[in-house]
Symmetry: C2
Subunit: 426 residues, 2 copies
Amino acid sequence: MADKKKRVKVDSDSDDEYNSNRKSLPFKKRLKPDEEILSILKDLTESIQAKINTNKALTLADLQLSSSCREVTDLDLSSVQDEIERCILGITQSIMSGKGFAFDIPARSNTNQLYVPELDRIVLKDKTSLRHYANVATVRKTTITTRILQLIHQLCLKKIHVTKRDLFYTDVKLFQDQNQSDAVLDDVSCLLGCTRSSLNVVASEKGVVVGRIIFSDNGDMIDCTKMGMGGKAIPPNIDRVGDMESDALFILLVEKDAAYMRLAEDRFYNRFPCIIVTAKGQPDVATRLFLRKMKMELKLPVLALVDSDPYGLKILSVYGCGSKNMSYDSANLTTPDIKWLGVRPSDLDKYKIPEQCRLPMTEQDIKTGKDMLEEDFVKKNPGWVEELTLMVKTKQKAEIQALSTFGFQYLTEVYLPLKLQQQDWL
Amino acid sequence: MADKKKRVKVDSDSDDEYNSNRKSLPFKKRLKPDEEILSILKDLTESIQAKINTNKALTLADLQLSSSCREVTDLDLSSVQDEIERCILGITQSIMSGKGFAFDIPARSNTNQLYVPELDRIVLKDKTSLRHYANVATVRKTTITTRILQLIHQLCLKKIHVTKRDLFYTDVKLFQDQNQSDAVLDDVSCLLGCTRSSLNVVASEKGVVVGRIIFSDNGDMIDCTKMGMGGKAIPPNIDRVGDMESDALFILLVEKDAAYMRLAEDRFYNRFPCIIVTAKGQPDVATRLFLRKMKMELKLPVLALVDSDPYGLKILSVYGCGSKNMSYDSANLTTPDIKWLGVRPSDLDKYKIPEQCRLPMTEQDIKTGKDMLEEDFVKKNPGWVEELTLMVKTKQKAEIQALSTFGFQYLTEVYLPLKLQQQDWL
């Protein structure tokens, strides 16, 4: 009986192996030994580091653009405090000299935004508008602006971080609606010329990191190879993150947590030394700041694994070029030169993803895809245009998880190693 | 000039202090020295541990209920494999003996659910229904059930974890829609009598933990006092979590990540030794399993900090008594004896939360509140009934963040210490 049972097990196992081999064999047998793939990755890393070391990073100032642009920088707390005091002092002098009470607020609307191909990100042009206190149309916003400046000043003195929601609740009577305090908070960032994280107002964290990186979070040293499967939650306040060290060859940016989980459980970072990071969907500010900091300090290539749909590409573009809503802060939030590793529209046929694992694109998907084709940051990368055109033409999309059709570990055991071996990124 | 600037700073600071003191002084001055509060907490912890050690935990079997109930247990992988093989063997014998091919699936509908006050959780009664292969109405579901059993069997052999989404993608053609494979997955849990985590199918993780706990995640030792502000992401697979050690006096369960962040940055766990945990909103399975494991292994009181609205209480009840959807697994997912620390409806007046920081309840809120009043697990706690009745009567709700109106750190410096000192939990 025991024998029989054992045989049943072995049979069913080998049967599965057979089935998944039959489907995945054409790709599995193309895989070279890991050493060869590792040497490809080493070349990639070296070329990225050489590029970073020789090319001084371009800044807005280098470009001599026709329209001048506005960018914010990271400021320490005492500089933010100085800026606020300088701003208020200026207004006091304006009032005393009879010129009245007004803030000169940078415009953040679409028409004041510009995509700069040399920098590969969206920046804000220098249009501003006066926000007068002695004007019925703007008195409320002027009052809110003053109150936010006062609250930020308090944060500087107390040296603590708060969320936008906390900020709203300190004066609900005045703000009425969180949208109002949030919008003015962005105005204040632009006005003071500093990033929102410099204001010590942080977004909620949802990102996770695991793999070959050690860093300090609020004074504690974190070793992300020893974070089990759960990984380390990415800290909401990037200014308390530092001392990054890594022996990784690349950063693997993953859209979804299901794929992240597979990679973490299989400890993919031990086979191919890498740092695995995900924001679990839409990139949040904390994850974007963290990714940029890794890229800048460790000088590693970033390879992205997203769904093959317009939103996957959109997410990639938010990491890479910034969101329109926070274009004033694009220099600090974006990570240049992200490579699109997969899942790309051309992979669907190449890897023979079965028809039933592909999903038809909705009208909205197709519209989003066509809109993306018009975006400058897609246009400047011919490979991306080609892929996106194929997607819109075939009207098919697929999730990363579609690869599970060849077996649960196909992603980590065949797809990704082969992609790396073939240097198949754009 | 430097002098003048300094004076301006000091003035504005003391002015803020004055304002926030004026509002919070009545409560701040009631605070006793920390040692006295700590001794109150020690008493609480000891009483909880004494209760746990003397009262043997009640189980369904002890209760001799009129209707018999079904519960699932944690099984190790090889037991799950055995159960699947036993199930399939039974069906084979049924076919061979001419009785046909059918699964006897436990019903998971509302009418088959029962709240057991002695256990303080929802359980499943023992109604089942036959799922025949040779019946047009059920042939599809029978096929899906067989396929899911086969896939879980594979997971047992490979010893890996996957998500529900992965499972769906292994056979999109058959499952058609993820809802179908998800529902059958719950059926299979009931059928095999094991928890869903025993099946190695995990939910996505979103919880975070920080504070006085050390545990192992997939073999790595994690010290949560050294996790900075970001904290440790709660692992998706509880079966790889173990070796919990702690010198905490209680577990602080927090609904929202904004409050969590305040507590983590202020290192509240160092002033009052505790473990701080949040699922960032709706409790997910991983966080519920983790909370239960902490409570059971460390034998600590659990104090909950949620919004003062019907959903805050609902979240508390999901942690405490389980969700209807997974009632078959309530024994493993629920944490008994959670105390409602705050923010409670009576706190709004008691702590003089200003009118503008309270929000009017919507019709839907009021309906949810009234529905909750009819729930057994609310009814059995007279204090909760009183609070909820007050909420529905005043038609007012408030978020934890409303406390920011008295200063950003009011939560950690006044509200929580005072609550603990006054043993103000229900």
